[in-house]
């Protein structure tokens, strides 16, 4: 008797919730086309990207340009490259903008993503204290500089978070044929800003993207020590999750954003973006 009553209450609650959900859905489409406005409210587009891209401020310039032309509102979710790729793979984002070209291409091959394009590149810098105790300042060879840091056991702070920067760092250690280990090598699993702060505090060395470094340079006791090596270039790519796997993503919007990133107009916006008077990103879409 009592059970039955509970069941009926349960059903009633479900029903009310369903009605609410339906009403909400309706009102959404209703407000989507207000009669007095010609343009419908913009659709939300979720862009998963790396913290370094987001922190540089590029998107704050780029996305308004896109939104002015197309009827989308882009929400930026910034995280590590690993997490950004995972978010795309799970269909939690509509577009992914990251910098780990080898992994990206592999994931496209595995069918998780489609429409991958090179967008731009920036470069990495090895930074360290001004007095440069290891004596690698002005060098052009990143791998050789790493080898000297390891040899002198100077403190090196590593992102250690499978981010694009971390991948780049690992590739340089590989090139130098060194397995970094020991007290001097600190794998901290934090964002670029935190890593730079820790490096500065401990008068150590680290590998950073130029954008974050320029943005934070004034609050750090660090200088660019090694730059300009081909191995330090960093390719950014954009792609969309496979719409066959995730029918719920906004593939149309994703395509629009990808197209805009690689269009002449989009590429010009990238080239024109400056931070503290320095160009950070070099467009290279084909």
């Amino acid at each position: 008797m009592k059970l039955k009553a509970q069941f009926i209450v349960f059903l009633a609650v479900l029903l009310v919730l369903a009605v609410f959900a339906a009403a909400c859905g309706q009102s959404n489409t209703g407000t989507g086309t207000p009669p007095e406005e010609q343009k419908p409210a913009p659709t939300e587009l979720k862009l998963a990207t790396t913290t370094s891209t987001h922190d540089s401020g590029l998107l704050d310039v780029f996305l308004p340009a896109f939104e002015a032309k197309f009827n989308y509102k882009v929400s930026v979710i910034s995280m590590g490259t690993g997490a950004a790729l995972e978010a795309g793979k799970r269909g939690d984002a509509d577009v992914v903008l990251v910098h780990a070209k080898a992994t990206e291409l592999q994931m496209v091959q595995e069918g998780f993503f489609v429409d991958r394009h090179d967008v731009m590149y920036n470069d990495f810098v090895i930074v360290g204290p001004a007095d440069d105790p290891v004596g690698i300042k002005g060098g052009k060879d990143a791998a050789a500089a790493f080898a000297l840091i390891a040899e002198k056991q100077a403190i090196f702070v590593s992102r250690g978070d499978d981010s694009g920067t971390h991948s780049k760092e690992k590739s340089i250690w590989k090139k130098a044929e060194i397995e970094p280990k020991g007290n001097w090598y600190q794998s901290v699993g934090q964002g670029m800003g935190d890593v730079l702060r820790m490096t500065s505090e401990q008068k150590g060395y680290t590998l950073t993207d130029r954008g974050t470094f320029i943005a934070l340079r004034d609050s750090l006791n660090l200088e660019a020590i090694v730059e300009g090596d081909q191995a330090l270039f960093n390719q950014y790519g954009i792609m969309a999750p496979n719409p066959d796997q995730h029918p719920n993503i906004d593939f149309e919007g994703a395509t629009a954003l990808i197209e805009y990133f690689i269009s002449d107009e989009g590429q010009e916006v990238i080239a024109g973006f400056q931070l503290n008077g320095e160009q950070l990103f070099y467009p290279n879409a084909q």
Binding site: A87, G189, E201
Partner: protein, 209 residues
Amino acid sequence: MHIIWMSLFVSGISVFLASALGIPLGTWLGLLPAHRVRWAAQIIYTLMGLPPVLAGLLIYLLLSSSGPFGVLKLLYTPWAMVVAQTVLAFPIVTGLTMIAVRSKDKEIRDTAVSLGASAWQSALTIVREARLAIVGAVVTGLGRLMAEVGAVMMVGGNIEGKTRVMTSAIVLETRRGNFEMAIGLGIVLLVLAFIINSCLYRLQGVPRN
């Protein structure tokens, strides 16, 4: 499994230090008339909700090599995490002890005093009668510390094999996209919390009849 040990070490020492300071202070405040310690109580209650990252930031600025205690070279060591976590746990232990003592204060004190207890003896009696709630305060503090990530990450640096603890490892694995690993660590953390709470609960000596 260095991170498990490090979590226990840092949070354990911190809650011990916070209790060593907070239980006497909380008892003292709890025994004074409520209207006379109103301001102190409000400050403590506010600090009980101190955001860990704010505590972390303050300790960071103090311990930074350009800060006043930079010469101690504590930043990015487990001891920096102990300092930050002690700061976080201290108001919690103090505040909850104060509440526990106050809730027992009047009737226990009247009884003790009418039985001939001195001021000091009746205070001790009140603490003894409030021991369940005081142990609860310590457990609450420990729980908050074990679950805390903002402060330890900022002042400890999350250095692998040195200052990485369970919570900062979870943050890292989540950021890496290794959700399974993050969840696994989370389960270990919960199991650990359960074991510690069970032990402390036994320690409370809950009467079984």
